[in-house]
Amino acid sequence: MRIATLKTSYAGDEALFDTKLQRSLLALFGLVLAVFPFVAGPYWLFMACLVAINVASATGLNILTGYTGLVSLGQAAFMGVGAYTVAILELRVGTPFPVNLLAAGATTALVGAVVGLPSLRVKGLYLAIATIGASVILHFVFANWSLTGEARGLSMPPARLFGNDLDQPFELYWVIVPITAAMILGAANLFRTRIGRAFIAIRDRDISAEVLGIPLLRYKLTSFAISSFYAGVAGGLWAYFFRVVTPESFPLINSIFYLAAIIVGGMGTILGGILGAAFMTMVPEVLKLVVGWFSPYFPDALAALAPIRTIVFGALIVGFLIFEPQGLAEIWARVRRFFHLWPFKT
């Protein structure tokens, strides 16, 4: 039970982690993440890396959609821009991989800002549809430009660090997870700054935000750029992880996946992006496991797996929107409140 939350300074009130317990548990979680690769098998490491990449991308989308209120169905295509940037730099220029990742982020941010231009004229669903258009056009570019290897795509060498090839999930884990953690921390801190608060103001009521002196044009494009930067870096990590980038790697359904992830996780909360992406990535694997248990009794169970997966994916979106619009983060907050108030109110 928590007795009180007495804050004696603004800094204390704004702190990301406000109690000692919170800080110590976070440290513990960090420790778990550090020990994890040594005890887990390659399969679980692979999944952990995939989750981390998806978390990074979903957090980016959350900045745009959850915090600024601009819906985008272009996140997967933006990841594609990042992945191709990394692959091209790796193949043609040969710059070290941290530079490539930053360049991927920067290029994607630029592309994102251009795609964000229609947001000045249209919003809401029209914007969502405009971003679908942008993904179709980006896909066309990927599939037809000689620089991006046309339909065959690009196969690239692994990332190199201090003369070592990073080509195993175990090694990549040490790149992907810290970068994702840094990106999450960055996003959390963003909303303690003027820029982040401006985003929230635009989301809540854009006209009032403009009256308050927030230039909409600049901040909407900034939001697009930051969100795309996240997608670009996530795409770059994706490229290093799979090392083959083809136009078919980033279909529209993946954009829907990321939007679904932040809906299920909880829009407009950092935790939501993390929980949602982890949850949505793991659901298919868990389903496979469950269906595996049934298969001795129902030999056809495996054949039904893909349809079930598709149905569950849709049902999760619909179910969360109707019954728990705040997402997993809200469920989490409820559990937390319960313990805060326990045993006085149950």
Partner: protein, 390 residues
Amino acid sequence: MSECWTRRGLIGLAAATSFALVQGAQAQAQDDIVLGASVPITGVFAFAGVGIHAGIQDYLKIVNDAGGVKGRKIKYVAEDTAYKVDASVAAFNKITSQEKVSLYYGDSTGFSKTINPELERRGTILMAGASFASELNDPKKYPFQFMSGPDYTEMFGILMRYIAKEKPGARIAFVYSDTEFGRDPIEPGTKLAKELGLNVVERIVTPPTSVDVSTEVLKLRRANPDYTIFHGYVLAPIPEFITQAKQMNLRSQFMGTFWSMDNSMVQRMGEAADGFMGVMPYRYYYEKDANAPMLDKIRQMRPEYQSNAYMQGFVTAMLMVEAVKRTLEAGKELNGTNLKASLNTIKDYDTGGIFGVPISIPGNSVPVGRIYRFDAKAKQMVPASDWIRL
């Protein structure tokens, strides 16, 4: 912000991920040889995946019932991938972490390309798969992979060699889908056509989502080819294409490549199927007249029709097992290099009649095939040429 950025959230994640502690590498029970597989049992490629899955299982059953290879059984460990590359790689990681895998079956071109560096690093696995991509037919770049048939360019080669013999200087058109699969043999195919003295008059791309092909058919009519080769499709939009073209009195002969050649798929084309031709490296399930003991065995095991994907899985398993056998007989260690070397020693090898002629595998592919034509009366694909070797 502190409200959402909670410690428990992070712990929850930790709990979720610590499942890993339970999963360790399992020790292998005996000295079984393991054939791992990423099979698309569900999803868009399911029709093939189901057949492949059954084909591999059946051949391994035959081998294991006969005592295995030098007394060692072959164990088949498969995971469904729904034809998604990341799921495929996940399956590969899962299977290789639990078993000592020597053979692997991959489900897509994307997977074969993605996993190749990992295969080279491990050097312990020989892999084949459902992809006949021309790119994979390069022993230097893909030293531990092979395909149990001609690659897509070689399929085009077989078709065009047939065309060149039937009608020298014929006008041909390519119709292909705007995917990696579809575009694969188009450039080399065009070059090859020139060498064979054929005239490629039109190359038509269809977007993968297209429903209505009227415009494309109009283009085809304007080009007025003698032969039209479809590539990159399973079924749609081939039937509508042919139907409309026939209505326009187009006298073109329509042809397909391996994945659109399954008998049950061609039957689904309805009237358009009549006279449809294409290239097949294997005999069909129902060919009784041929001297093919293996087909008899298959018909015994499975009384109902089996697809060409089944044959592909079956024969792939056969070639893999043959490579294992030759490696063990030579007293060598089972690793990628030795397995591939043994595979390449296969010369004039009789597959029990599944390939119509004895085959050799000099590189990564088996460049053999025969032209079949659909007979509307028999509702079957029937041979239209001899076996053609490139």
